[in-house]
Amino acid sequence: MREIFTMWRDTRMIMLVAVVAAVYAAVLIPFQTFQIIPGITSIRPANVFPVIFGIMFGPAAAWGSAIGNLIGDIFGGTFGPGSVGGFVGNFTFGLIGYKLWGNLTPLSSRVEPDFRENAGVQLVEYAVIAIAASAACAVIIAWVVDLLGLVPFAVLGPTILINNSIAAIVLGPPLLYLTYPRLKEMGLLYPDLLRSEDLSSAGSNLNPIAAWGLVVVPLVWLGVGFLLSTGAGAGLTSVTALGAVGILVLAACAVIVGERLSTIVGRV
């Protein structure tokens, strides 16, 4: 997990953070007018970026997604205390892709995410990752927004999950198919940029459990949180406590899980 911090030493990783953030914000802002539920959510094709950039650019995509969403809030006019939730939620949205690719045994395709080999298995692996990342982003934002008393968890959590998942699942595979080989050729994949000693190893026995934890924990958090939130009154307090536990478990899983793409591309 230390690559999250050590990546800030590398100039190209820093530039990647800036470019990911700029691309994410640039595609987020023009589509804020395409409202699904007015004021709550809009059609966000940009939601595909944290997942596919996460798989390709690793920690740079996590920071880039967080900053890009913050810029989207600032220029979209929704900057406020809820932006803290948006920052952490979008950071996790970008983090989960590179933590999970190749780690979801026995479901993993164990090949590069270019949809040229074992495309069916890759599609399933990608869809699970997209849903897990979307769910993690959804529960964190919904938890913070509920904590701030803006929108109840039960309203926002499922909305963000569905909105993020649809964009990521529909747009992700074709975008990866078209861009992954070119970006690899440019030497911009995170295993090419980070020093091998900075890459977190996936050798631990706990790795598969923690990897599936990153899939299951957000979905359980969403389900239980939804039930507690709709329980009304005192239930709102429990959503707060559930979120505190959920974010700690998610963080623990993320620390334990090592990345696999560097092994798949033969970097280590």
């Binding site: 640039a26 595609v27 023009p30 007015p38 004021g39 205390p81 929108v151 009304a232």
Partner: protein, 260 residues
Amino acid sequence: MSATSLYVDRGTWIHRLDARSTLAFVLAIFVSGYIFDDPRFAAVPLVVAFVSLIAVGGWPNFKRLSPIVAALFVVGLVVWPLFTGPGGPTVIDLGPLVLSERELLFALGRSERIAVFIVGGLLFVTTTSNEEIVSGMRQLGIPFAFCFAVGTALRLFPTFIDAAGTVKQAQEARGLDLSDGNLIERLRSFVPLLVPVFMTAFRNVNTQSMALEARGFDTRRDRTFYGASSMGGIDWAVTVASLVVIVGVVGLRLAGYGTL
């Protein structure tokens, strides 16, 4: 005000504040909006934020975002009664729709809170330029590398928005219809737009990094900012007054004011 910025270049006293003082002022508005459930109390920071926004020339920004503010206000009014317990006399009784006084006041308070946060945030971005935001972040102790990434992203993204617009026009000229079909089909039609936009963006990462390193870019050394400002007397006065307001509203709440 450009299409990609909400900053309004004026010389008002809030514009002249150091970014840290503006943040403290806005933070006081946020805390005041958050602390009270009773809409009569929550209305005070809302009025202060709105009047301040208009005074600094933020009316065009508010007008631009008013559909979102109105929509969120209505959503809050509709949703929150379902998530809180009834209390007090019945205010609305329309068959299946029964609203008690407590439910109505609670929902109104939450909607006002949403509005306080949006208008407060708008006040901050209306009076603080991108450069001031980035140098303010650095002066608050946020690491230089992070501030550099934010600053670079802020400078790059209008370029990418323009690129996205150009690609969109080019693809539409070739027959791409973004408004046709169901949600999935519409999302799929964005692929021909997104690929050129982000390949253009990433093509320059290596060159830009080399240019930075050639000019001695080093994130571990302390850097200076051309536009960095220092805290003057008015900045300290606003910061202290904001802290007093924060302590005051927390005290009022602990004393039982503003609850339902």
